[in-house]
């Protein structure tokens, strides 16, 4: 899909076509691409079954066959979803910049500020390596500490790749639960941190830094051509980085799917084991893996009897709290504040884990 769009932009003749007709052509290309995508997507399962049991003639009930069918169906499905969602998220994010988000959050009070910051954390482009300049830029221009934390928690925790994988492998309900609980944790944790008044545990030089308040280096107007190209850039950047992990994860998942006996995980990660949720969080916090590699494995574990809450808690602590990010934030935060941050977020994840194990 992105290939067609790219060719269209690069075509020098395109500039000679009047704007109205060009827009029509664009809409036509987009619709054709969407139709082709949908046709392929809806027929994947049929194709996988045909290939494994028909063309390859493998017997039904065979373990290898079941593993291969799983892979042939899930891998293209997840990659196709990833393509579309990352492209869409890239376009949505072109409407938001950290500068704009800061302007919207400056001077906000707690509660309403926490809600807004968590929502903006999802749609604002953010890379954990800019966490420090962003943190200082926020707190020195009147964004309250707790509100800043809501943003810093939501931004990595709610991840579009994780959302795609959850939707593709578990269905929309689990994806919605992940989105909803992730937002609630970011709001609540930021609110708690704000109430605790921990400003004294921010390194002293942070508040002494006077930032140039003018938002520089950002164009005020962005055209749709630029938005589409930023969607394409997101696809290039994220999908090219993530696809080997997705395939590896689905391959491991396929192995578990075919070979690990039913209910094996029930005793270790099932609802009955109360200690499984805290254990999952404690193991997950220092781990730093992209969601892409972990979720397919987790899906297979779930199928074998692990409890959803436990699995969700594990995943959230892996992607929401990571050691590299904590090390980066140590430059601006004193240890007690880092400890509170990790503690409050970890506690939130713990509650989510138990909640889902009880409810579902």
């Amino acid at each position: 899909m992105s290939g067609e769009v790219q060719r269209h932009i690069a075509d020098p003749n395109a500039t000679r076509i009047p704007a109205g007709r060009r827009r029509l052509l664009w809409i036509f290309i987009a619709l054709a691409a969407a139709a082709a995508w949908w046709l392929a997507y809806t027929n994947l399962e049929r194709f996988a079954n045909w290939l494994v049991y028909g063309a390859l003639g493998m017997p039904a009930g065979n373990r290898l066959a079941s593993a291969i069918a799983f892979f042939v169906f899930e891998a293209p499905k997840v990659l196709m979803l990833l393509l579309v969602v990352v492209f869409g998220v890239g376009i949505v994010r072109s409407f938001f910049t950290p500068e704009r988000t800061r302007r919207m959050l400056a001077g906000r009070r707690q509660t309403a500020g926490n809600v807004l910051a968590s929502l903006l954390g999802v749609v604002t482009p953010f890379c954990s390596c800019s966490a420090v300049p962003l943190f200082i830029g926020f707190v020195t221009t009147g964004v309250p500490l707790g509100v800043t934390f809501s943003f810093l928690i939501a931004a990595p925790m709610i991840n579009e790749v994780a959302l795609v994988l959850l939707f593709g492998l578990f269905g929309w309900k689990v994806a919605a639960l992940y989105l909803g609980t992730g937002l609630v944790i970011a709001m609540a944790a930021g609110w708690v941190i704000g109430k605790l008044r921990l400003e004294r545990w921010v390194e002293g030089w942070v508040y002494a830094t006077a930032p140039a308040s003018s938002a520089a280096g950002t164009q005020e107007k962005t055209s749709w051509t630029e938005r589409v190209s930023s969607g394409r850039d997101a696809v290039k950047d994220i999908v090219s980085r993530v696809w080997p992990y997705v395939l590896a994860g689905i391959a491991v998942g396929a192995g578990i799917h075919g070979y690990v006996p039913e209910q094996l995980m029930a005793s270790i990660m099932g609802k009955g084991a109360w200690w499984s949720v805290p254990l999952a969080v404690v193991i997950g916090i220092p781990m730093y893996s992209n969601a892409a590699g972990i979720i397919p494995v987790v899906q297979a574990l779930l199928e074998k009897g692990a409890a959803l809450g436990t699995v969700l808690a594990f995943m959230m602590s892996v992607i929401g709290l990571s050691l590299p990010e904590v090390v980066i934030l140590r430059k601006v935060l004193k240890l007690p504040l880092i400890g509170t941050f990790v503690g409050v977020v970890g506690f939130g994840i713990l509650i989510v884990g138990y909640l889902f194990n009880i409810v579902l």
Binding site: T97, P98, E99, R102, P125, F126, C127, C129, S130, V132, P133, L134, I136, G137, F138, T140, W205, T209, A210, P211, A212, S213, S214, A215, A216, G217, T218, I328, K331
Partner: protein, 78 residues
Amino acid sequence: MKIEVLGTGCPKCMSMEQNVKKAITELALQAEVEKVTDIQHIIQRGVLSTPALVIDGKVVLQGKNPTVDQLKDLIKAR
């Protein structure tokens, strides 16, 4: 001409520095390239997301890692 690349040392910042050098060589320009890693320095420029590109003291781009061709256009526009 003085070009600064602002960044704390993430992979994107390093790739931007290399792309800037490539762009300058391809344009056959005389320009001084400096990598700024000091956080306070970066903040004082009003930069929120890295990597950022500063040409002759003016922030022209931040939070993006443009291609060499895009960098050439930005440098020529100055």
